[in-house]
């Protein structure tokens, strides 16, 4: 016997409960997705390889892409101006294939802190930052961020001084948003690669601020 089972019947060796097998019928929408996908392939509109390729392309997108955009904006004032004027074009200029994404960048300053939410669903700039974190899609984050953003931010560990204005951006329609966080103090002379390593996903959503580098 490898280990004692008597009170751990439902726990894995690491001490966590086993996840139930998903031996359940497909939902309506799962069936619909499979049907549409098979039809697209049968009718020659797309191929299985193209569909798998698109899934791979989406999975390759990550916050590291957005971090490069942020680091460039920190080091290149003309690029920052273009980013704030049209973040989609500025991202494409850096070579990111963001498809039809319509992006707005909002800048954190010494006086302003921006935070992004989508109250109606879970709009997120996936084509630049990859998939949204689960909490971003939760009803709690979506409903509370527009009502009590400072309390929500404090639960992320961000306690803002009184003089800072909070700007909440509800991504209600066609636009998606990225926060341009403040460049951390202590990074004078750093190159964009080193700077990009400092930029976190949450700092681009507005639920974290980047700490001073010591």
């Amino acid at each position: 016997m490898l280990h004692d089972h008597h009170d751990h019947d439902h726990l894995s060796p690491s001490g966590h409960p086993y996840r139930a097998d998903n031996d359940v019928p497909l939902t309506y929408w799962q069936t619909m997705e499979i049907a549409v996908r098979e039809l697209l392939i049968e009718k020659g509109v797309s191929t299985a390889a193209e569909i798998a390729g698109q899934i791979d392309a989406m999975d390759r997108r990550s916050p590291a892409d957005g971090a490069q955009v942020v680091a460039r904006a920190w080091t290149d004032p003309a690029f920052k101006d273009r980013l704030l004027a049209d973040a989609s074009e500025a991202s494409r200029e850096m070579g990111f294939d963001i498809g039809t994404l319509r992006l707005i960048a909002v800048e954190n300053t010494v006086d302003v802190h921006n935070v992004i939410v989508c109250t109606l669903c879970s709009c997120y700039p996936r084509n630049l930052l990859g998939m949204a974190p689960d909490w971003y899609k939760s009803r709690e984050y979506r409903s509370r961020t527009v009502k009590e953003p400072r309390k929500v931010l404090s639960e992320f560990g961000v306690v803002l001084p009184d003089h800072i204005q909070v700007r909440v951006h509800d991504s209600t329609a066609d636009m998606r948003y990225i926060v341009l966080p403040e460049r951390p103090a202590g990074t004078d002379g750093w190159d964009t690669e080193a700077l990009a390593d400092l930029v976190t996903r949450d700092s681009m959503i507005g639920t974290s601020v980047l700490s001073t580098v010591t």
Partner: protein, 93 residues
């Protein structure tokens, strides 16, 4: 309301139509300032049904938390921006 007619201050209409609506209920009836004008984009209320969509200006409207939540505002001078289609907005004198 056309893009040209838009003044700086606008009120979100209080209508409650059924369907796929991209105007959150919590800003209906609230007054804000136009932050920028975008589009024109197809009206999502028509696009969702696959019918020819009217192309409309999309306005980013900035509200104060005091306007949106009244006395319950966490910090009255903080702001909330939302994208609202032009047919949902009316001018404020």
């Amino acid at each position: 309301m056309t893009a040209n007619a838009l003044t700086q201050r606008v009120r979100v209409k209080t209508m409650m139509p059924p369907g796929h609506i991209r105007t959150p209920a919590y800003v209906r009836g609230k007054v804000g300032e136009i932050e920028r004008t975008l589009g024109p984009f197809g009206n999502p209320e028509q696009l969702v049904y696959g019918i020819d969509a009217e192309r409309l200006p999309l306005l980013r409207v900035r509200f104060t938390m005091a306007e949106v939540w009244g006395d319950a505002a966490e910090r009255p001078s903080d702001t909330l921006d939302a994208e609202i289609y032009a047919h949902w907005l009316e001018e404020v004198d």
